[in-house]
């Protein structure tokens, strides 16, 4: 039984409808809201699985369903749904992870009076995200794209009374909007060039040969192919959403939201939407590869940005003290990884990593949430420690997640997906840099994850929260266990020996042999990272919260710089922020002084003209009129004497006048 493509809309509509219903549910029935959200998402999951089944039945066939939104000009704005392995697989992932995280939230937000709103926003997010994945139209994708942004904004600012949360929400929205403007421009350009925004439309879609050919064939400013320019603009949006350097600044701040939000939106799904977009429009991005004289290939930019981000995130994560910040920078780094993979052409590897990363990063965040929940909102790893015994389930599952992320060989999914990426980067002909960066990031990842695990779970408690911690309820631990199992099992979908996932996603995929050496290198790097981390943090755990970080002792300046996130926020504030403020001030001043001044000047001129005119009137004109008036009055008095009051007299005058007139006419006529 497969889902008919015409009913695809049900998948996003169920959670969206749930969101609308929850919004009108009375606030005193929070359980009802949560139940609605869970039921709707479960329904979506079921439908998504059915859709996946349909898509897998024939991976090459693209089930599409398009409809007209409204008519413009001679054409129309058309939207549509697309059921292909890429979208449906991710939809299943989103729904499944979402369901687990919803369940976790039941426990995490049990005491929050605004849990209803929370589930409302979460459902809204889930609906938009599913819509984004299943859209066959870039416009519909953009609509959902913005809606997930809205949900992200609302959820980051869920505790809006905390100024930091409010600030972070705004920052997230505006930063991603910068990228979105690029995306919007790209869409507009695409619409203008091809006349449609449908991905696949029976040969007329933007991802189909005809359009790609014409886009790659035309050039625009700077000798860029139009497809390159559009692809880069689309990538702007992807970079913003996926926290790529330089638009990564919002993602760590977004950790101000509740932890399930961080897990769902800012680790597993929404931030991966950028990667999904790149994978989705990969044919467009790759269209310029065939051009011999392109000044720059779009994919090169993607790969470079991804590499920089991967390294940057991993490096900064090393020096963070907030458990969620560490994970956030780890996310940035992993997203960079995925971009790198996509940029080097292995978009299937990117999606593979996206899937596994979604599982283990959600697991890690939920684990962190469990820790935070257990320790009464203690997030600073310097005041945690020794939780291994107190939170056994959380600790074990967190360790699974850590090993998956670090890429511990063979058993854990992260290893396989990372292998695929390394393999692709190694094979990239244009530059060896991404490969080297990826290798560095592998080691760094293993290092900082070991540090995190050691700091939180090993040793002795260093704060009050950690001392009094006890395990979270089952509603929170069960999702952890499920996710941990998935973090292990998912990896076997794409091993070099049986690359089912890659083949499913891309029927043209060919597994390349000869990865054994590479695998050995990466295993060695992982081992080195873990050992270094253990040596620094695990062997001699900190005894006191105020004790300096071991790294800060050895390389203080580097540590300070990394802890300050390499000063990106400050740099932006000093340059772009100040420029913006200055322009705003200038615009305001222009209004208040220049234009308003012009108006005032005109007004004063008008007043002066009025004054002159009045004087002229009084002195010159009125004199003449007064004289004329006097004369009239005198003549009137004279004329009044003829008014005798005798009606007959008047008639006589009339008759005489008539006779005179008639005579005049007659005689005059005779002449």
């Amino acid at each position: 039984m497969h889902l008919p493509v015409q009913l695809t809309w049900l998948i996003p509509a169920l959670p969206a409808a749930a969101a609308a219903m929850i919004a009108v549910v009375p606030a005193r029935r929070p359980g009802l809201g949560a139940g609605l959200a869970l039921a709707a998402l479960a329904g979506s999951l079921l439908l998504a699985v059915l859709a996946l089944g349909g898509a897998l039945a024939d991976p090459a066939a693209r089930l599409t369903h398009t409809f007209t939104w409204f008519a413009v000009g001679h054409g129309a704005i058309r939207l549509g749904w697309l059921l292909d392995p890429l979208g449906t697989l991710l939809a299943v992932m989103v729904a499944a992870v979402g369901l687990l995280i919803f369940t976790f939230s039941l426990g995490y937000l049990r005491d929050d009076p605004r849990a209803k709103q929370f589930f409302c926003f979460l459902s809204l997010f889930a609906g938009a995200m599913l819509g984004l994945l299943l859209a066959n139209s870039l416009l519909l994708l953009f609509v959902c794209w913005e809606l997930v942004g809205l949900a992200s904004y609302l959820l980051i600012g869920f505790w809006f009374q905390r100024p930091a949360a409010a600030q972070a929400a705004r920052k997230a929205f505006i930063t991603t909007r910068i990228g979105d403007l690029g995306l919007l421009l790209g869409l507009v350009w695409l619409q203008d060039s091809t006349g449609t925004l449908l991905l696949f439309d029976g040969g007329r879609g933007v991802l189909e040969a005809e359009a790609l050919g014409s886009l790659a064939g035309a050039t625009t400013v700077g000798g860029l192919a139009v497809s390159t320019a559009i692809g880069l603009l689309l990538f702007c949006g992807a970079a913003g959403k996926s926290g790529q350097v330089p638009l990564h600044v919002w993602l760590p701040d977004a950790m101000e939201g509740p932890t399930p939000v961080s897990a769902l939106i800012h680790a597993a799904t929404m931030v991966a939407a950028g990667v999904f977009l790149v994978a989705r429009v990969f044919p467009l991005l790759a269209a310029d590869l065939a051009l011999p004289h392109a000044p720059v290939h779009a994919l090169s930019v993607v790969a470079t940005v991804g590499a920089v981000t991967a390294l940057f995130g991993a490096a900064v994560a090393v020096a963070q003290d907030d458990i969620k910040r560490v994970l956030a920078f780890s996310t940035v780094s992993q997203l960079g990884y995925m971009m790198l993979a996509a940029g080097t052409g292995a978009w299937t590897a990117a999606i593979f990593h996206l899937l596994t990363h979604a599982c283990f990063k959600a697991l890690l965040f939920l684990g962190a949430g469990s820790v935070i929940h257990a320790t009464h909102h203690e997030q600073d790893i310097r005041r945690l420690g020794g939780l291994r015994g107190r939170l056994p389930v959380t600790g074990a599952t967190f360790a699974v997640g850590m090993m998956a992320l670090a890429g511990v060989p063979f058993l854990f999914s992260g290893f396989w997906s990372k292998e695929a990426i390394l393999h692709a980067a190694h094979g990239w002909a244009i530059s060896p840099l991404p490969f080297l960066v990826a290798l560095a990031a592998v080691a760094l990842t293993a290092f900082y994850m070991t540090r995190l695990l050691a700091e939180v779970f090993a040793g002795a408690p260093r704060g009050h929260g950690a001392e009094t911690a006890h395990e979270s309820p089952a509603v929170m631990t069960v999702p952890l266990v499920v996710l941990a199992l998935a973090s292990v099992g998912l990896g076997f979908l794409g091993t070099p020996w049986w690359p089912w996932l890659q083949r499913t996603l891309d029927p043209t995929f060919k597994a390349e042999a000869g990865g054994a050496g590479l695998m050995a290198v990466s295993i060695a790097l992982v081992a080195a990272g873990i050992l270094a981390g253990w040596a620094r943090y695990g062997r001699h755990p900190r005894s006191d919260a105020r004790a300096p970080d071991p790294l800060a002792r050895s390389v203080p300046r580097l540590h300070r710089a990394l802890a300050a996130r390499l000063g990106c926020d400050e740099l932006y504030a000093a340059t772009l922020g100040r420029l913006n403020a200055a322009l705003a001030a200038a615009a305001n001043a222009l209004d208040r002084s220049v234009w308003d001044g012009c108006v005032r000047l005109l007004a004063r001129l008008g007043a002066y003209a009025g004054l002159v005119s009045r004087e002229t009137d009084e002195e010159v004109l009125n004199g003449g009129f007064n004289a004329a008036g006097d004369g009239l009055r005198a003549s009137g008095r004279a004329y009044a004497r003829t008014q005798t009051g005798d009606a007959h007299g008047y008639v006589w005058m009339l008759a005489a006048g008539f006779v005179l007139l008639a005579l005049a006419v007659l005689l005059g006529g005779a002449r």
Binding site: H648, W652, A655, A656, F658, V659, A662, L663, L666
Partner: protein, 165 residues
């Protein structure tokens, strides 16, 4: 032509005698007769509607007002001696002069001769004219009549105190 002459002579005679008589009531009645004569002229000229309107308005309405006015303003006692004003002769002279002037003008002007067929301008055509191009004027006339009526009532009624028994 004979009919016209008869109508004209009758009308003029009635009018002339009316203006010469002392007795106001007889004057008024004779004037009414002359108005009827004018209506007859209208009938003769083919203006049927105007003729009936003339009768309705002059004989039916104005004559009543005139008669009322005459009765209301009759001196308590008829004047014993008619007041001879010195205007009679000049008046007739002036009237004659005007008549001469007009007659001279009429007779000396080149006017279309001959009698055309009676024009096809019936009540329907008149109505279309009145309610079509002249609708505004018609409305204005209605307003004028209303105002005149009210004004006449106010003028004739005077102050209530005076008339109270």
């Amino acid at each position: 032509m004979i009919a016209l002459a008869a109508i004209a002579l009758g009308t003029l005679a009635a009018a002339a005698v009316a203006l010469a008589l002392r007795d106001l009531i007889h004057s008024a009645l004779l004037l009414i007769a002359s108005w009827v004569g004018i209506a007859a002229f209208y009938l003769w000229a083919g203006a049927e509607f105007i003729a009936f309107a003339q009768v309705l308005i002059y004989v039916g309405a104005i004559s009543m007002v005139v008669l009322f006015a005459v009765l209301l303003t009759r001196p308590p006692t008829a004047p014993a001696t008619p007041v001879r004003s010195g205007r009679t002769v000049p008046g007739f002279l002036a009237g004659g002069a005007v008549l001469g002037l007009l007659a001279g003008a009429v007779l000396s002007s080149p006017l279309p001769a001959g009698m055309g067929a009676a024009p096809a301008f019936g009540v329907r055509e008149l109505g279309l004219k009145l309610l079509g191009p002249h609708a505004g004027a018609l409305l204005a006339t209605g307003a004028l009549l209303t105002v005149a009526l009210l004004g006449a009532v106010v003028l004739a009624a005077g102050r209530g105190k005076e008339d109270a028994p």
